[in-house]
């Protein structure tokens, strides 16, 4: 644990790395200096606040407080996933259900199997990891769904005209969208350890944990992300595709552009 030497002064020196990005942006005329500065300031403020909150929650070690953190993370992730819905109606509600169910099932399994304990220092970070992954997966699902409904609307219309139910008419789109949500997780699993030493494992190694033990946690994280993105993608897609049709089972023109 003594190897962790980052301090305010070392962080300030590390700010040089931000300057590298700024200089590249300036030389290449990318006009992203404002975004970089705002991003960095937001990251510092958000992480500082979260750091202090986590310190408080961990110290309090109260189940209700831990549960409150879980709910806040889930709602926040759903809000962001909903914003990526690109005008799909009820995107927030669908995301909320998908993230809530995905996170709850995964966390419950992890706690029941004894992989993690119901203590704030484990529940809160793991909730964050799960919810943010489902959030990204849902964003990809929605984007793919809207695009494929637009690209293949003629085929959907023809299937409807042949008397198909909305599910059968959109089955290809539904499958492709679920797959698009899960694909990045599957792809990243394939290169685990070869290209990337992911966050959980790196963090533990940083903190001085035996790498062999650290990989066990990473394997657990891999299982957990696979399950949660699958559950989240399926729920959000099954709720999402219905929004492309009205109550007369007609394709809504305003959603395909």
């Amino acid at each position: 644990m003594t190897n962790l030497t980052v301090s305010n002064s070392t962080l300030a020196l590390g700010f040089v790395l931000v300057l590298v990005a700024l200089v590249i942006g300036y030389i290449e005329k990318l006009h992203i200096d404002k975004d970089i500065i705002i991003g960095v300031i937001r990251a510092i403020i958000q992480l500082s606040i979260v750091g202090y909150i986590l310190k408080f929650v961990i110290k309090a070690n109260d189940n209700w407080l831990t549960l409150a953190c879980f709910i806040i993370i889930v709602i926040n992730a759903s809000w962001n996933a909903g914003k990526r819905g690109n005008g799909i109606p009820k995107a927030f509600q669908s995301s909320l259900l998908a993230i809530f169910v995905g996170t709850t099932i995964t966390l419950t399994t992890l706690v029941l199997t004894g992989s993690i304990k119901f203590v704030p220092e484990q529940i809160v970070p793991v909730t964050g990891m799960i919810a943010s992954n489902i959030m990204v997966a849902i964003g990809l699902c929605y984007r793919n769904m809207k695009q494929t409904f637009t690209d293949r609307h003629q085929q959907v219309l023809e299937k409807l005209a042949l008397g198909a139910d909305i599910k059968l008419a959109s089955l290809d789109i539904l499958r492709d969208s679920i797959k698009s949500g899960m694909q990045p997780t599957i792809d990243s699993i394939k290169t685990l350890g070869l290209v990337s030493l992911p966050g959980m494992m790196s963090g533990l190694i940083f903190a001085g944990v035996d790498p062999v033990k650290a990989i066990k946690y990473q394997i657990m994280v891999t299982f957990m992300l696979l399950a949660s993105t699958s559950i989240g993608s399926i729920i959000s897609c099954y709720l999402g595709y219905k929004q492309f049709f009205n109550d007369r089972k007609q394709l809504k023109n305003d959603l395909i552009s």
Partner: protein, 214 residues
């Protein structure tokens, strides 16, 4: 003869644009009605409303004496089938397309029935496993029409299905549709084709969103 469709004071508008204005129309069972009119006159919109692909913004349509809104849409579209001008074939093979109507009705694929239907449109059984990329435009339209007819509906609405087809393909499509009409199928056909208009058994003309008297 009984009416299969009664269109009463039907309107359709998008925003401020009135596409159909107070349409009144009766279609008898077993009729083969040709719908003509310039592009953008509202013909296809009327047909899509009758096929329940879109809903009217005013007035009503009775199908078999009852408002089309009172029917379950899926069941309705199996009774009133709509064929598109430039159909897309689904999946990879012709089989994927001809098995679709079976899938819709949760029935097992009946290969013999499909072969009989293929022969009706001058396609032999080897077509079943042909790739959708290996069929010509005319064959594509014939296969698409079979999707509509393999479980014969009560009404078939065709929206310029012979546009762009050569004389031989047109003749095959005409022969098939006439055969089905003779067996009692009501057909509503939108067309710009001069020969089809001349040969039509009954005809209405739509102009500027209204039915015009010839």
């Amino acid at each position: 003869m009984e009416n299969i469709f009664e269109v009463q004071d039907l309107s359709y508008q998008v925003g401020e644009t009135k596409i159909l204005k107070h349409i009144n129309l009766e279609v008898e069972k077993g009729n083969y009605l040709t719908v003509v009119g310039p592009s953008g006159s509202g013909k296809s919109t009327l047909m899509r409303i009758l096929a329940s692909m879109i809903s009217a913004t005013g007035g009503k349509v009775l199908f078999d004496g009852k408002s089309i809104d009172s029917y379950e849409p899926i069941e309705y579209r199996q009774r009133v089938s709509y064929a598109f001008q430039q159909p897309t074939l689904f999946g990879k093979t012709v089989r994927d397309n001809l098995s679709f109507p079976f899938e819709v009705r949760k029935k097992d694929f009946d290969e013999m029935k499909v072969i009989n239907y293929l022969e009706m449109v001058n396609l032999n059984e080897t077509y079943i496993d042909k790739s959708v990329n290996d069929v010509s435009g005319g064959e594509k339209q014939r296969i698409a029409l079979l999707r509509n007819l393999i479980f014969p509906p009560e009404v078939l609405i065709t929206d310029e299905v012979t546009a762009g087809l050569d004389a031989e393909n047109k003749a095959i499509v005409h022969r098939m549709l006439n055969e089905f009409n003779d067996r009692g199928l009501t057909i509503l056909r939108v067309t710009h084709d001069e020969t089809e208009i001349e040969d039509s058994r009954a005809k209405i003309r739509i102009g500027n969103g209204e039915i015009e008297n010839d």
